[in-house]
């Protein structure tokens, strides 16, 4: 069975303008719209296209999160994933914990490929995919903007600072995806009904032998400072002068 696992994270929707809680303990999530992390949605779309091209047999969506993350997994099933796994967690999960859980699932499911977003838009950590590859002991290609299956090899075009880089890696492997890889499909209404009947397993950390530990301690959240009023300068010389005084030039 050529199986693709796709990591799905439940995050605040990209269109929501988030606010820091007054006590600085986090971001206000009450009544805020939640969605699939957009990068993960691109990962799922790529997996579905591979399956449609006959390059995979099964697409499994996996998530770690609260009970409500089932909504995002149902969306993934409605998009076309065959089944889903939710590992329940009522607290935020650090990238290492996520990587440990995904590694255990990849082994248990005998995955051929794990696709995840290059980062999640809530914490922007950009770590889970890399840690997963290391823990699993398999090759990785990050920031993918093009993925081609060549038998047992994957050819991945990566977005790097200098431009594009193309790698060939052996399967099984981990690929983290970037924005330009594809445009995810919309959920079709009849598929919402079909998704209801697809299997969604709810598991615990213990089921995968992972004990989540908190290695990071968040002390305070603050909103970025509001931009202060600008000043008008009369000449380039004056501008340079001001920049020098501010230590910027």
């Amino acid at each position: 069975m050529r199986r693709i696992l796709v990591g799905i994270k439940r995050v605040v929707d990209y269109s929501v303008r988030v606010r820091v809680k007054p006590d600085g303990t986090g971001v206000a999530l009450d009544g805020v719209k939640m969605s699939i992390n957009p990068f993960d949605e691109i990962a799922l779309e790529e997996a579905l296209r591979m399956k449609e091209r006959g390059e995979a047999d099964e697409v499994v969506a996996m998530s770690i999160g609260p009970e409500e993350a089932q909504q995002q997994l149902r969306t993934a099933l409605a998009m076309g994933a065959d089944r889903a796994i939710l590992v329940k967690s009522d607290t935020a999960v650090e990238p290492l914990t996520a990587a440990q859980v995904f590694t255990a699932i990849a082994r248990a499911e005998d995955a051929r490929l794990v696709l995840v977003g290059k980062q999640a838009i809530d914490d922007d950590a950009n770590q889970t995919g890399q840690m997963l590859a290391a823990l699993w002991g398999r090759p990785q290609a990050t920031f993918a903007s093009k993925v081609e299956v060549l038998g047992e090899v994957l050819r991945v075009t990566r977005e790097v600072d200098a431009g594009l880089e193309t790698l060939e890696i052996d399967l099984p492997a981990v690929v983290t995806v970037d924005l330009r890889l594809n445009e995810p499909r919309y959920v079709k209404l009849p598929d919402i009904m079909k998704a209801k009947k697809k299997p969604l397993d709810v598991k615990s950390f213990a089921d995968y032998g992972v004990e989540p530990t908190e290695r990071l301690k968040v002390t305070l959240y603050v909103a970025p400072a509001t931009r202060s009023k600008g000043i008008m300068v009369k000449s380039v010389a004056e501008l340079v002068d001001v920049l020098k005084k501010k230590g910027l030039a």
């Binding site: 719209k33 909504q71 149902r74 079709k188 209404l189 009849p190």
Partner: protein, 610 residues
Amino acid sequence: MDGHVPARLMSRRDLSFLLHEWLGVAALTARPRYADHSRETLDAALDTYERVAAECFAPHHRAADVDEPRLVNGEVKVHPAIGPALQAFSDSGLMAATQDAARGGMQLPFVVERAGMAWLFAANVGTAAYPMLTIANVNLLLAYADPALVERYVPDMLAGKVFGTMCLSEPQAGSSLSDVATRALPQPDGTYRLHGNKMWISAGDHDLSANIVHLVLAKIPAAEGALPAGTDGLSLFLVPKWLPAHGGAAAERNDVTVAGLNHKLGYRGTANCVLNFGEGRHTPQGQAGAVGWRVGAEGRGLACMFHMMNEARIGVGTGAVALGYTGYLHALHYARERRQGRPLGDRRRRELPVPLIEHADVRRMLLAQKAYVEGGLALVLYCAWLVDEAATGTEFEQDRAHQLLDLLTPIAKSWPSQWCLAANDLAIQVYGGYGYTRDFPVEQFWRDNRLNPIHEGTHGIQALDLLGRKVVQRGGFAFEALRAQVTATLDDMQRRPGWAGDTARLRKAWDALVEVTQTLIMIDDAAVRLANATPYLEAFGHVVVGWLWLEQARVTFTAKPANAADEAFYAGKQQTARWFLRWEIPKVHVWLAVLAPPDPSVLEMQDAWF
């Protein structure tokens, strides 16, 4: 610059309140037709509407307004972003949302489908008009057309490959359909050949689909060639732009031509055409005349059209609400961001001016908009919910729903068209000079919305329909059904702490409406009875929406706020309900004052005196 921002299209929180907390639509899943649904599937469907609206419809709202449809060599070209948006709409199954699963539909309740469509109207009403017409067209064909005709066109329409139109008006016959002069001549093979001119045909021609299906009202002449008089002589015909391929021959162009485009105030993305049928530009099978197939029985054309009229008019009301709603959300955002002026009495001139929303008069304008658009949304969703009741309830529920729907449809069409347009006007006012520029979208919302009091039966026609027909229908049965509903809400709210006084305002207005209605229906002379029908319509509408505001306040008493955002939401509902009862309901008495006895000023006014 401030574009048409997706997060300011509609309020999902409000939709959720109305659909789930008030109407309890999840209870519909107890009905066999909706048995496979759950709250989750209904919400997931709304997610798809919201997303298609934000990502495919909203981005070209302005562009399609600026770059209007053009007529090139007799064919209409529309803005290039409209095609892909409608493709996404059809591909996501939205065209077939309410249809049977066997037809690729989701069997979505009508009320949820209308709530979903509100997102698309808010995002881009000019683009949403194409599928709106096609959906109505499909429903009509499924109800009345021969199975062969249904199978030939409906699957392609549901897939977005063929779009539909409704051709009623003619240059000389708009609201007065009895004057329709298009002729349909029966042919030996059972088809008809149509000849005539049609006016105001939205989506009448475009480059969005492989074919266009026109549903055309026309008259079949008697043997001696005379057209039957009145609306009883109207029959309905399906006339495609392209005729089906036939016996090895390729598809042939039907004799339907675009005589011109109408250049409109708003809704500019929608190509609105003058169409000529059977003028001989094309000669299918070697003969002039547009080939058509009859839909429904001879002489039943208007009945077929009117079967869809309740839904169509609720659709217009929903569009008006959506435009008012997005305007309100834009104005609200602007009022919170834009700093201007200081609080009254602040002589110290604090360093920064305050946000607009801190000025009482700006809050007045925002509160009025909130009251109009949220009240209007409650109204159209209530009526859409009645459509579901009428289709799937028990026999008693169905009958009551039909009656209430007939009575309230003129209100659902006219009230949002009037007051959500007023909301758009206030949105412009909140923006001040910027609102009057094309750099901000609120002026376009107003222009788009200005159509709604005109099409699908003008404001005046709705008033005649309500007072002349609906309130007296079946001996006033519907009016009594509404009275029972309103009275129950009044009695409930009367005993809520702090609500007796405001509830009494509505009871007084309702009693006055009942009294005026009883006086009016006793007047035999229709010209006198109906002369002031419009203030009657407006008084009726305000009382109904006042009732719906009281209903929303009622729901907040049993609500369980989960957090501070919820608490603010419910407090906002209560405050707006009070505002409506105190500021708007008194207007009812002014409108009613000219009705009983009917003030004759208008009736007696003479042409020469103007």
